[in-house]
């Protein structure tokens, strides 16, 4: 686990809000040298703390049919490797968007994306379920996404404040 200094934490927070912010803007906002910001970003990238810069997309707004399912998977852990090997086997499939090891009623939560229900169902029945260590799967299709990564998708809150106030 990397222990981050105050500057790096602030840089991360500001880039999490908007990844397109330039080092110049970040330096101005934080009141530090641009060089220090660039150095921090470089180190965060090298340490794989910043993994990627990506857009958060509300696909519901786009005419591009996609189906997402959250699949609860119960597995038998492998001797010596626990859940790691089986998790890797699952997350290497390109249709798998995320994999989490969970406490509670099941072991892995697997997010799968496909063009339609059948594609996702086929993945579960042909790829996921046949894996030896997989004991059971429970597929939950996502009907609507309201919030992701702290961003509320339908939240077009107008600025209702007076345009001018004392």
């Amino acid at each position: 686990m990397t222990e981050l200094d105050d500057l790096k934490l602030k840089v991360l927070e500001l880039l999490k809000e908007d990844a397109r912010r330039t080092p110049t803007l970040l330096a101005t906002l934080l009141g530090v040298d641009e060089q220090d910001v660039c150095k921090s970003i470089k180190e965060l990238e090298d340490q794989h703390v910043i993994v990627k810069y990506a857009a958060v997309v509300n696909w519901d707004k786009v005419d591009d049919e996609k189906v997402t399912a959250l699949i609860e998977v119960q597995i038998t852990p492998e001797r010596g490797r626990g859940f790691e090997g089986i998790a890797e086997r699952i997350y290497l499939y390109p249709q798998v968007k995320s994999v989490y090891l969970m406490s509670g009623a099941y072991d892995l939560l697997v997010e799968v994306e496909g063009r339609n229900l059948r594609e996702v169902a086929n993945f579960v029945s042909e790829k996921l379920s046949p894996i030896d260590s997989v004991l059971s799967t429970k597929t939950n299709f996502t009907l609507k996404k309201y919030k992701q990564d702290g961003i509320i998708f339908e939240d077009h809150q107008e600025d209702n404040r007076l345009m001018i106030s004392p």
């Binding site: 009141g31 345009m163 001018i164």
Partner: protein, 403 residues
């Protein structure tokens, strides 16, 4: 207008002639005129807003909702709930080193504005002179006039970082001077005062037997040295009526929860007016404010940090544009000089609005010393501020080419 009132007006005199001269003679606010102008324009980025762009933190809203579900909807005691007054007392003591007895020295008010009104009404005898360092929040002078007092402006200057100096204050003191109104951190300049800045002011207050109304609504929004309450200066506690509230630091403008603290005799007098006019501050707002003091200080700090970042962006932005801009140490306003463009504050603000679609408030509406400046609030997103600076830059370039 209905028939009855038309007949009444025709056969008698203009309705406005019934108004108290004290009210009739107050000029309409410059900010109001500008407000009307902004209202008719579209697609504007506004830097004119004197309130946070954050929503009241969720846990405070939730505390209010829960209190409503439990049926907490009645009047509270006139001075506010004992729990909230207790929490305010502890908060002021911990944050600003001033100690007030929650039972006798604190009133929870309908925003800081009511507190200022209460203080002035409790103190003014018609003809009293009320000293007001300017540029300042636009309400002090009109409220003084309504109370029959005479507002006396004290001009402050960018070369002094818009701080009040003892020389400027003493020059305006007369035998009729009774009250000094202070507002630091300042709306609109963002100026703050240090302990050393306060000492000579306190000496004059003592020497000339003045009472101070210290509006510290922006106390938490302080980006340099820690805020020094005027009441914490030795000898000033009994002479100071401290006014503050939750609007700015806790993003609670619409809830209208403020408070005022002072000597028990002054507070008792103010409480008389308060109980006959508003009875008590809204009960549900008091619940949210209490939750803020108990569990919301982290949220407050997060908002202050965001303002600080934007402050740096604005100061550097205006300097890059070529406009002089003193560094504000508090509140959420920058007050750049637009004198190098050759335009007056009004002209600049109006043209900026119509030609660049950016709304900011002309400095002259804030009184003496405001002409030649523009108040820009940075209580809006970094994206909007960046865009606004870009537009202002192009506008200033265009104006300078014309000149």
């Amino acid at each position: 207008m209905n028939l009855k009132s038309e007949a009444f007006t025709d056969s008698n005199k203009a309705m406005s002639s019934y108004l108290s001269p004290l009210v009739r003679e107050i000029p309409s606010s410059g900010i109001r005129k500008f407000f009307d102008l902004v209202g008719s324009n579209k697609d504007i980025i506004t830097l004119g807003v004197g309130e946070p762009d954050f929503t009241t933190p969720w846990h405070m809203r939730e505390a209010c909702v829960y209190s409503l579900e439990r049926g907490f909807t009645s009047y509270t005691s006139n001075a506010g709930t004992p729990e909230l007054r207790e929490a305010i007392s502890e908060y002021l003591n911990e944050q600003f080193d001033v100690r007030y007895d929650p039972k006798k020295e604190i009133i929870v008010t309908v925003g800081g504005s009511e507190a200022i009104d209460l203080a002035l009404r409790a103190l003014i005898v018609p003809g009293d002179e009320i000293l007001v360092p300017e540029p300042c929040y636009i309400s002090y002078s009109p409220i003084t006039s309504i109370g029959g007092g005479i507002p006396v402006g004290i001009e402050t200057f960018a070369k002094d970082e818009f701080k009040l100096t003892a020389e400027a204050l003493e020059a305006k003191i007369t035998p009729k001077s009774k009250v000094l109104i202070l507002c630091y951190p300042s709306n609109p300049t963002g100026a703050t005062m240090t302990y050393e800045d306060w000492l000579p002011i306190a000496e004059l207050v003592e020497k000339h037997d003045l009472i101070v109304i210290s509006d510290e609504i922006y106390a938490e929004l302080n980006y340099g040295d820690k805020h020094v309450s005027f009441a914490s200066v030795p000898g000033m506690m009994d002479r100071t009526i401290l006014v503050s509230g939750f609007s700015k630091a806790f993003a609670m403008t619409g809830w209208r929860i403020g408070y005022t603290c002072g000597h028990p005799d002054l507070i008792a007098a103010m409480l008389k007016i308060h109980q006959y006019t508003v009875m008590c501050a809204p009960s549900m707002g008091q619940v949210a404010a209490l939750e803020g003091l108990r569990n919301g200080l982290g949220e407050k700090d997060r908002m202050v940090e965001a303002y600080n970042q934007r402050r740096r962006l604005m100061v550097e932005g205006f300097r890059d544009i070529g406009l002089e801009c003193h560094e504000p140490r508090g509140a959420f306003y920058v007050f750049p000089s637009i004198q190098s463009t050759g335009l007056s504050s009004d002209e600049f603000a109006q043209r900026l609005l119509t030609e660049a679609k950016v709304a900011a408030v002309p400095g002259n509406v804030f009184g003496l010393g405001g002409e030649g400046y523009l108040r820009c609030s940075y209580a809006t997103s970094v994206g909007q501020l960046t865009e606004a600076l870009d537009r202002i830059g192009h506008f200033v370039e265009k104006v300078k080419k014309e000149g």
